[in-house]
């Protein structure tokens, strides 16, 4: 078994210095990194635009080209990139107003950084980014955080002072992390149609040389890149990265086997073992910030509003079996906050697999087995529709396990799978009885969008004022103690109410050539390509 779990191996870091930032210190090993070479990466989707702010996908390619002020590392903690430090209350980078209602964040920018066209990067670019993204004419998906800012001052070319209208603990996860836009090429341009969308200009280790729609993107070394390794060698090590667009996952596996592609993520679990047995390839597990869950529609069938019925569901499901059905890669979980976060609460009410207890709960609730084995009370059969996203084979496999587990305690689940937009529509509006799916989040998730009474992704109609209050506290405080406590208490309440059953955290499997050194998976939505400068190919 060459199978390795690199995530979770802590990389020794002395926080505060620069070189540690992004995986350049790898497991303390410093091989003689070879400069040069071309790495070919397979992408499973067709890129719509290379503008990080308007793409509907995660910006894999963009992450190697465009840099933000800070970025999440492999442990989902923010590290400085174009800023010299991550602003905190402790280091004076964040100052909360006396009335506690607003805050000021100050960034010191790294000196001598150049855009890949050789122009200097300054505080004016940071301010321009906010103005350009906020502009109502710009059609973009990711405008989060722009409205929280009232104004930006640039007292020096390397100082940015950002005035926030509210205390926003998640200030780092959006605007200034996604990437900074170059003022000198974009000022006065229409960002919806500008050539930037096909040829983004960044400060990152690579620059876009050629983009052929539906085929590939070629990235070449940015000669002006600011980062050097510990030996003083100019980064990146790689000459070139090629992103090939391969929409079919079987073809992706074929290309990995034939050596036409050297790195691809999101390998189907069913294909992991055959790729791992392929000479020259390793499969790495990336514990992405995602959790799989079974949601109850609380606006749906009446029995689902009965807490004892929901508890019976929880006891009836064997999370280990679900994981086994998916090749054993997923990790069973007891709370919606994934274990990588310090505030993941290990003391929440738990519901270990116990079918006898499930049956007892249903008996107590008055549901007795009918002639066909399905439980009935006052003519109401415990029979529900369950929805997963059609075509997602891992979800469909898990769904089969859930159906079988519940049948064993006398509950009938009928698959009602939907795809694409029909699925999303149902998810938002609660067009289901039961719903099994997963969420992937940023490095500092806003849980109110899922579990707040007004959450945009709360299609199940869950509402608990105490939870709302706790999430409000967590999402408007900068004190890690206060936030941590509020988030831990929220998890306890959530698991008492049980509107959702957290089942597993499903990792993303990455197939990568054993010649690639310096590669560390990134679990956040900033993608695995957030730090490519330290990657190198062994000869």
């Amino acid at each position: 078994m060459k199978y390795q779990q690199r995530v979770g191996h802590s990389v020794r870091r002395t926080s505060g210095t620069v070189a540690l930032s992004l995986g350049i210190l790898l497991s303390g090993m410093t091989l003689a990194q070879q400069r040069g070479g071309t790495l070919t990466v397979g992408l499973g989707y067709d890129i719509d635009t290379l503008n990080v702010y308007s793409t509907g996908y995660l910006g894999d390619v963009q992450a190697a080209v465009v840099e933000g002020l800070v970025a999440p590392d492999q442990k989902a903690r923010y590290v400085p990139v174009l800023a010299t430090r991550v602003p905190t209350v402790a280091n004076g980078g964040i100052k909360v107003a006396a009335d506690g209602k607003s805050m000021v964040v100050t960034y010191q920018l790294r000196p001598n950084v150049k855009w890949s066209d050789g122009q200097p990067f300054t505080s004016a670019d940071v301010k321009f980014t906010w103005e350009a993204v906020k502009n109502p004419k710009f059609i973009a998906e990711s405008k989060d955080g722009t409205e929280d800012i009232s104004s930006i001052e640039t007292p020096t070319p390397l100082t940015v002072v950002v005035n926030y209208k509210r205390v926003a603990p998640d200030f780092a996860s959006t605007l200034f992390t996604f990437g900074i836009l170059p003022k000198h090429t974009l000022e006065g341009k229409d960002l919806n149609t500008d050539v930037y969308n096909q040829q983004p200009l960044g400060t990152g280790p690579f620059k876009v040389t050629e983009y052929r729609k539906g085929q590939y993107v070629i990235l070449d070394r940015n000669p002006y890149y600011w980062r050097k390794d510990k030996a003083g060698v100019q980064l990146p090590y790689l000459d070139r990265m090629i992103f090939k667009i391969i929409p079919d996952s079987n073809t992706m596996v074929t290309q990995l086997k034939s050596g036409e592609v050297q790195l691809a993520y999101g390998v189907p679990y069913s294909q992991v073992s055959q790729l791992d047995n392929q000479p020259g390839l390793n499969v790495i597990k990336n514990s992405v910030l995602s959790w799989q869950h079974l949601d109850f529609n609380l606006k749906g069938p009446a029995p689902l509003r009965d807490l004892n019925v929901r508890k019976a569901f929880a006891y009836a499901i064997n999370k280990a079996t679900v994981s086994k059905a998916l090749g054993g890669y997923p990790t069973p979980i007891d709370t919606v906050v994934v274990p990588v976060f310090s505030y993941s609460n290990k003391l929440v009410p738990k519901y270990p697999y116990d079918p006898a207890k499930a049956k007892a709960l249903l008996d107590a609730a008055g549901y007795k087995p009918g002639p066909d084995g399905i439980r009935v009370k006052d003519g109401q059969r415990l029979s529900f529709n369950i929805m997963v996203q059609a075509g997602r084979s891992t979800d469909e496999d898990a769904e089969q396990v859930l159906i079988a587990s519940l049948k064993a305690v006398g509950v009938e689940l009928k698959p009602d799978n939907k795809s694409g937009v029909a699925f999303r529509d149902a998810r938002y509006k609660g067009g289901y009885d039961l719903f099994y799916s997963g969420w992937i989040t940023a490095a500092d998730p806003t849980y109110s969008v899922f579990f707040g009474s007004k959450g945009v992704n709360n299609g199940q109609g869950y509402s608990n004022p105490a939870v709302d209050a706790l999430l409000n506290t967590a999402e408007s405080s900068l004190d890690p103690q206060v936030r941590g406590k509020a988030l831990r208490d929220f998890q306890t309440l959530l698991m008492q109410d049980l509107p959702t059953i957290p089942i597993t955290s499903n990792p993303s499997m990455i197939a990568v050539t054993d010649k690639l050194g310096g590669f560390v998976p990134n679990p956040t939505n900033m993608t695995n390509f957030v730090n490519t400068s330290g990657w190198y190919l062994k000869k």
Binding site: D144, N192, T193, G214, K244, P247, N250, V421, A422
Partner: protein, 317 residues
């Protein structure tokens, strides 16, 4: 066949295309969801951002208004912008068209050159070993799923033997003709294989039927050589039903091959269609479907013209 007939046919296309566009527009909008749903996968997208995009794309207007403005613009050559990529629709399609023409066009020609002779051979040597072999192959071709055959070929030719690239259109840094042909070989073969299977059966059946006709028997009785009987008397008449089938398939040369293009990561119209469908990119979808409908109507017209050329008894007035 008169020139006025051709004009009449061409004039008749316009209302047909209009009708088709109305149906397509309706069906596309009946499908649940909309172009902004791709953003909904991201839990951090705000309702305000979505609302603003809806207004910017005119998706907040009532459907009839949206359709009318689309029709007026479309028939003036204003095909609008893609919602997914913000690029002009015409550019999106023109970027993908050459790849599809190359792949589907090659497959179409190869299939035609192989299928017609195969059908004739099959028919003239009915119940011989050759006929059985061709029949067996055709049935394999008709019943074998494209994706399975593609996977097997990829495994054999790319992974095991390393003879051909498994996917893509060219090796990066090498856009030469031999390189392109090596990339084209597998997908074109697979596309052609399925057509050959179907068309050769039609050709065989049609040929068998014609060979039993009185005039063929008369020709034989007159002592005409069997080669001449087949090629001068039977073949042309047998072609007529086959032309219909082939013409219908000819439209696919323009509309792309979704499965094959996806499996071989071939950047054609079929892929663009799937991506646009998944993203409910209405402007691009409508344009692709309209181009496809237009191709089908033109193919039909060409088929009719071909009848007249093949069969002197057919005259259009």
């Amino acid at each position: 066949m008169s020139f006025s007939y051709l004009l009449k046919r061409l004039a008749g296309m316009l209302p047909l295309l209009l009708g088709v566009s109305l149906i397509l527009f309706g069906v596309l909008h009946l499908a649940p969801g909309g172009p902004l749903d791709v953003y909904a996968d991201n839990p951090s997208v705000t309702q305000e951002a979505l609302e603003q995009m809806r207004r910017a794309f005119g998706l907040d207007k009532p459907l009839p208004v949206q359709y009318l403005s689309w029709v007026l613009a479309f028939f003036q050559g204003e095909w609008g912008f893609s919602i997914r990529t913000a690029q002009p629709v015409v550019q999106e399609i023109l970027e993908r068209l050459p790849a599809t023409l190359m792949l589907s066009g090659t497959a179409f020609l190869v299939a035609l050159l192989v299928a017609i002779p195969l059908g004739v051979v099959s028919a003239t040597r009915r119940y011989s070993g050759v006929d059985y072999a061709i029949t067996l192959l055709s049935f394999l071709g008709i019943s074998m799923p494209v994706f399975w055959l593609a996977l097997m070929l990829q495994l054999l030719l790319s992974v095991q033997l390393r003879l051909l690239p498994s996917a893509g259109m060219l090796t990066i840094g090498d856009g030469s003709l031999p390189d392109l042909l090596r990339h084209l070989a597998m997908p074109a073969f697979i596309l052609a294989f399925a057509s050959v299977a179907g068309w050769s059966r039609y050709m065989r059946a049609s040929m068998v039927e014609v060979m039993g006709q009185d005039y063929v028997r008369t020709a034989r009785a007159k002592g005409v050589s069997s080669r001449r009987v087949i090629y001068a008397h039977a073949f042309r008449n047998a072609l007529i039903p086959v032309v219909t089938v082939v013409a219908l398939d000819f439209a696919s040369v323009l509309s792309g091959a979704v499965i094959t293009e996806t499996i071989f990561a071939w950047p054609g119209i079929g892929r663009l269609f799937i991506d646009s469908m998944n993203g409910r990119d209405y402007p691009v979808l409508m344009a692709i479907l309209m181009v496809g409908s237009f191709a089908l109507i033109i193919s039909n017209l060409l088929a009719d013209l071909a009848y007249a050329a093949i069969d002197p008894r057919i005259r259009y007035a």
